[in-house]
Symmetry: C2
Subunit: 241 residues, 2 copies
Amino acid sequence: MSPRQADPGARTGLIEAGARIIAVEGPAAVSARRLGREVGASTSAVYTHFGGMAEFRRAVRGEGFARLATHLDAVPITDDPVADLTRLGWAYCTNALTNPHLYRVMFMEAPIDPADAQTGWDTFERLVSTVQRCMDAGRFVRCPTALHGAEQIWTMTHGVVSVVLSGMIDLDQAEKLLNDMGASVFVGLGDSWNDAGRSIAAGRPSNMGVLAAIRTAPSPSRARPSTGRTSGPPGGKHQSR
Amino acid sequence: MSPRQADPGARTGLIEAGARIIAVEGPAAVSARRLGREVGASTSAVYTHFGGMAEFRRAVRGEGFARLATHLDAVPITDDPVADLTRLGWAYCTNALTNPHLYRVMFMEAPIDPADAQTGWDTFERLVSTVQRCMDAGRFVRCPTALHGAEQIWTMTHGVVSVVLSGMIDLDQAEKLLNDMGASVFVGLGDSWNDAGRSIAAGRPSNMGVLAAIRTAPSPSRARPSTGRTSGPPGGKHQSR
DNA sequence: ATCCATTGCGTAACAGCGTTACCTTACGCC
DNA sequence: GGCGTAAGGTAACGCTGTTACGCAATGGAT
């Protein structure tokens, strides 16, 4: 007694439509009706394939992690693991800043449940193993475990990315922050200032900058045409007190 | 020709109701109808006082910044500016983790416009001036400007807080990260390892931990009763490769 | 004191949202 | 070939933000 079986392509079609809508118009534009219209189905498609919008959003988040993993895996492995770490950081930033809405859905929405956290850490496996290579190479001599080092590097990078997405600092400052804090964290993990500086310079993307493309195409989503000033943090006169 | 003038208390009443609902039930529970019901008015109150839900949310965000400023201003000023900086960091974390929903609204939602970014930096004035004191005391000898140092410290702290809120790491790991990365950043700004360690120890909240209260009351909002495990990052077997 | 322009604000309607009950339809096994 | 099962469309429910409309209240001008 095998009844009609669901179209296997429909599920991935919905997820891709969701990711596309999020990328272009933001998470608010994703609705069951819109998704149905987009794939030529009705609202109930979301319910037969996912059980509800909440589960659907989880699936889209998983797609986001998969895409991030693809970006990270594209980073080559060289004999300078700290430079590789730097390259992973830039790849992470590029992925996040070219798909800000998807990044927000992945890391900045309501707390994800433990299973999703595991998914996140699985995609960071590449980061953890690179930190391990830094330890094996005698660069991160003060790093207790690869996971702890990876947590530091990811937290720092995520902090910078997230602060750029919030509009509190601009891309130029973010670049400075990543360079300076990256060096500080690497040294804190045991590298020497000279070696860290050399590896960070080596890991700097050749087509400087990767972020230039993002800078010229400021907002791939916000419908608001422009409020005028681009501002950033408080001007230069901000030498404190 | 002066017509009936609006109740001046209605505006603040709406904002406070919004902040309260966000804190308890999350941003999704805030609606024009709910707000009207809450203050004994109708949906149009939001429109006469704010012009729409978007403007209203901006006002609530401003309220969040005001509360954060209050928390930061409560931190005493001592003769160890780096310890003061540490205390500011803990105050920031306590504020964020006791009001996670409000924090999310302030820093993790759609890009705020330049005026709001200015508001944010105004509430960080206290942080900037404390970094300046660290420079004046000869502690942050490698820090080019107080604003740059403040950006580093805030970005790092926000990164950790935000990663806790995302559920990817737990509070114990966050505490380690804040201590370790805080030391790295302080040293990167020019402090010595010994001085940084001493000041961080001095700035550690006496009632250790401030976060214990948060840990015991895990989630002041999520209606979901419990999915079972509390997990966190991947278990201990995660020593990489 | 009266009047009236002006604005606050409640009511009701609109379109769109997530979700679900109901029903038709298409499929694989007997 | 027919039947049972599940896919998936239709339509409704209550919710949302937003707005047009109308009544109520108010302070200056008369």
